[in-house]
Symmetry: C2
Subunit: 340 residues, 2 copies
DNA sequence: GTGAAAGCGCTAACAT
DNA sequence: ATGTTAGCGCTTTCAC
């Protein structure tokens, strides 16, 4: 069984590989009749373009790299799904890397992607990442990069995020309107823009509605169940105890819910809880968890779309584009008092 | 800035590209002194092997393809993580494809992976898949394949699964020992070996313990929350109502729990529930869901390891190996009666 | 509109 | 132990 290459197609049609290549790539200078013949024969002989050879010659791999902190967080799985939809529709493959929230693995991942000659990189940075040389290096090499969700400003790298400030503001506002009086916040690592923005949104809402506020009601966690639990432990030890909490994301909120249940504090009656991310489990908890949906599929699609456009005009200095999606609040039991 | 290739390294060292290549690949016939010089220079000049060129020549891409039904199921995310650990440790990259539980996308995915010249394929088939020509074609082309979790027998394709029969047997046995008398089963699509095996395990336990059994207690679902709900609806409409259910996986079990809560049937007091997969949400439900853990990370690692060995002896007829992992039962609230 | 020819960067069979 | 040579399959510049 002979391998079918453009050379054998050329022989069969008494022409040259160059013509075949052009015909297959719909080059304008090739006559329609020739194109038809070539496509027909290719079809008949089940010709498949050798992407490796094509990549070597053209420098394009039609592969993009995706770096995520963890596939155990349904949020990221869902974004990747969005990315895939657009990628596949445009003939791109996805090389996936999980960084395990570690800067070291993230660096290795970028290395691996570069050495695989990906045409572009989509990344949501790890909690640990404070040094961005791996990304600026990649950028220097001319590989377009787009952040999604967890972005970093000031690097001239494009990004797609939701409006974290707005989402946080609206969630806090909702708790206020539900009649909670002393609303606390569990934050994430504040060196990350996402988490910082959410805290600012929370603070802004508290201020705008002239709510009582205490620095004791700010607990810096690390986006984990444990820090949610610890936060509640801290809050309930205070003289002036909060009666609601806006958590920076759902795992912290989940920890909070668990600890509240442990301590037999009724949610939402005596304590309101609002999360962020709308993780898969949020709607299945008891009480179900109110949360800010981040439009994961859309985020993935937009990120990929943006990357496509950056890859298209590689010549230009590639203006840095930042897309902000609107958050979508999902009101469930944990934040809605039965009493009005 | 000149691109650094083996040719420029060769010029600097007054030798030939071939020697550089061999030195870099640790060819035994190259002297240690030369290897040292080459490695030192490569390091100094920040040389990176061009994998594309290497692949074109050697026919190896050091990339494997992974096909999963959905990244929204944490089970698969976790298996992929296991795969990645072993893959990265061996210098392999992962091309990811989600099939959305669709045979059509699965076929396209295999096509895409083949045209990317992956060295091997790991796949967990979609619910829909009944026709396996896409896989037998790939196999015919000499691409090693390994099933994980959702496998198909009789194709001569290797697999790594957990002992579904045993897990189901043990889960059912546990319910029996907890004193439930009329244990029902929500199954999945029975054309899939996984789900069929689980049903058989359930039946075997029922028989061995001489439990009362009725065909009405067998509900064929489609591994979804909805079918779990529907199953409970069906069970509770019976004259002889079951008092426990072993669900084929956690989403069905979740649906069951929800519907039971809806109908105010106390779990585990009046009704026991056992799931399968130990999805992320299982431990966070109220009551928490007992489930069979499938050793996801281990499964991923084993699958990749098996694929590596298949790829290594591509010459041999590649004996078909089937690895079965032991299930791990996780006993939580939903199946443990407080009363003895 | 098509052909000729070069070459992407690397590897491997064959030579010495 | 190292050099020579050829070529993986494709794209693309330059001819005509």
């Amino acid at each position: 069984m002979e391998k079918v290459t453009i050379t054998v197609l050329a022989e069969k049609l008494n022409t040259t590989p160059a013509t075949i290549s052009r015909a297959l790539n719909n080059h304008p200078a090739i006559s329609d009749s020739m194109k038809k013949k070539v496509h027909a024969l290719a079809e008949k002989m089940n010709y498949k373009r050798n992407k490796i050879a094509s990549s070597l010659r053209s420098g394009k791999t039609y592969t993009i790299g995706v770096l995520i902190p963890s596939a155990n967080i349904s949020f990221f799985g869902s974004v990747v799904h969005g990315i895939e939809i657009v990628a596949n529709a445009n003939g791109y493959n996805i090389l996936l890397y999980q960084t395990n929230e570690s800067r070291k693995f993230e660096g290795k991942g970028v290395e691996a992607l570069l050495s695989a000659h990906v045409d572009g990189i989509l990344i949501s940075v790890s909690k640990e990442t404070k040094d961005y040389t791996h990304l600026s290096n990649a950028k220097k090499l001319g590989v377009p990069i787009v952040f999604f969700d967890r972005a970093k400003e000031g690097l001239g790298i494009s990004s797609v995020v939701i409006d974290d400030y707005k989402g946080a503001f609206m969630a806090t506002e909702h708790l206020i309107k539900q009649g909670y009086k002393r609303i606390a916040h569990i934050s994430g690592p504040l060196h990350m823009k996402v988490f910082n923005d959410r805290m600012e949104g929370y603070k802004a809402a508290m201020q705008q509605y002239k709510m009582k506020f205490s620095d004791d009601w700010l607990f810096e966690g690390d986006v984990s169940i444990e820090s949610g639990k610890a936060a509640i432990g801290h809050f309930l030890s205070l003289k002036e105890k909060p009666d609601a909490v806006f958590a920076v994301e759902d795992y912290s909120a989940l920890g909070a819910l668990k600890e509240l249940k442990n301590r037999k504090v009724a949610v939402p009656e005596r304590f309101g809880v609002f999360g962020f991310a709308n993780e898969l489990f949020a709607e299945h908890l008891t009480p179900s968890l109110s949360s800010v949906d981040q439009q994961t599929i859309l985020m993935g699609k937009e990120a990929m779309q943006l990357l496509l456009s950056l890859m298209a005009n590689k010549k230009q200095p590639a203006a840095c584009t930042n897309i902000t999606l609107d958050p979508l609040l999902i009101f469930r039991e944990s934040s809605q008092r039965k009493i009005k």
